[in-house]
Assembly symmetry: C2
Homo-oligomer: 197 residues x 2
DNA sequence: TCCTTTAAACTGACTGGTCAGTACAAATAG
DNA sequence: CTATTTGTACTGACCAGTCAGTTTAAAGGA
């Protein structure tokens, strides 16, 4: 994993297209997006989209991968810490990322559970990338005996991920006046049911 | 308010259209649905859709209202009980409903947080219908001193609703082999952070 | 019981517009 | 000199919505 490659002309263009797509996707949804609009929003010719991605679907697929890699980078634990803190760091990482890319959260949530939708295969894999990071940390809590009986690690991890996702969206959409600290507290209140004692 | 009127021809047709739409919406999403397909799935001519609803949008809007009224009916508390049990009944009601209408859960989740999407206005109201029922019960728990400090009732209610929604979807999509009892337990494990002591 | 009337309900071919994807010649950047 | 981008124009498929005509069934004679 070396540093980010010096941006070539195409990687700048791809980035512009990702940003434009995220800007548009929140309002109209994936199916409502047109390639013409994406290109216009990015300040790029339509042909450039096809030169870089080959199809609308490929652009979306790349966008999913791009977003998830950013999210994974944000929540991957930097150093080993106390299990309780580790889970809190997970929550903080999610809140930071979703605060920065709210459209991506909407995109995820609106496509994640569609079966057997076009993106289900891809999203299953990407979801696994994220939940496995959660699972690692929750497993540490389990080893420390912090989990109540009858709660298995995979379920708890997936549930935690989903919970943070929807609570954050609810915050952004229905209570934008609330501060991140307040939201952090409500999520952690829920989490305390999981990581107790 | 006399007894339920014998179903007219149109109410049967409308029901068929609701069912067909729910059957199709899980795979392609709202924007991917065509009126031709809905009509075909319902065994009805395209014109009938327009005779009964006037537009595709009106059909979807009616479907949202229909689904939420069913959900509300399912989770509305029958009789006053212990606050802890009341919250568990809320969770059980959600699980029953979402188990019966999985597509509706997908529909809700994929449109609920879209801003300023076409359905945002309607969905805000309908979300309020549901969360207010949650809020009532959670408020009882708060009165009984069961909520930890720093957790306010509206946030906790909305969070609980969202959490049950995504955990259920995750169950249906990624772990269909799990039993409802198991899922119930994982949700309640999370809830125990809220309703403790 | 059988015919007639009426309005509601339904039908499906058709229209007008939209959009993904293509083609390509000319411009520009590295 | 090569990779990339632009702009414009085009095609073919698809789809929401329309509408003139048809069917259904309930009510009312006779």
């Amino acid at each position: 994993m070396n540093g980010a490659p010096r941006p070539s002309r195409t990687s700048v263009t791809k980035q512009k297209l990702f940003d434009a797509t995220l800007r548009l996707v929140a309002t109209r949804g994936l199916a409502g997006l047109t390639v013409d609009d994406i290109a216009a929003e990015a300040g790029v010719a339509k042909g450039t989209v096809y030169y870089n991605f080959g199809s609308k679907d490929a652009l979306i697929e790349a966008l999913f991968r791009y977003g998830v890699s950013l999210l994974a980078q944000q929540i991957r634990p930097r150093e080993t810490v106390d299990p309780r803190q580790a889970v809190e760091q997970l929550v903080d990482g999610m809140l930071v990322f979703l605060g920065e890319y709210p459209s991506f959260a909407q995109l995820l949530v609106s496509e994640m559970w569609r079966t057997p939708g076009q993106w289900h295969q891809t999203l299953s894999v990407l979801r696994e990338d994220i939940t496995s990071i959660f699972r690692e940390q929750v497993a540490l809590a389990a080893d420390a005996g912090l989990l109540p009986d009858g709660v298995d690690v995979p379920t708890a991890s997936a549930g935690l991920f989903g919970t943070v996702l929807v609570v954050t969206l609810d915050w952004q959409v229905f209570h934008p006046e609330r501060s991140r600290a307040e939201v952090r507290e409500s999520v952690l209140a829920l989490v305390r049911g999981l990581i107790h004692r």
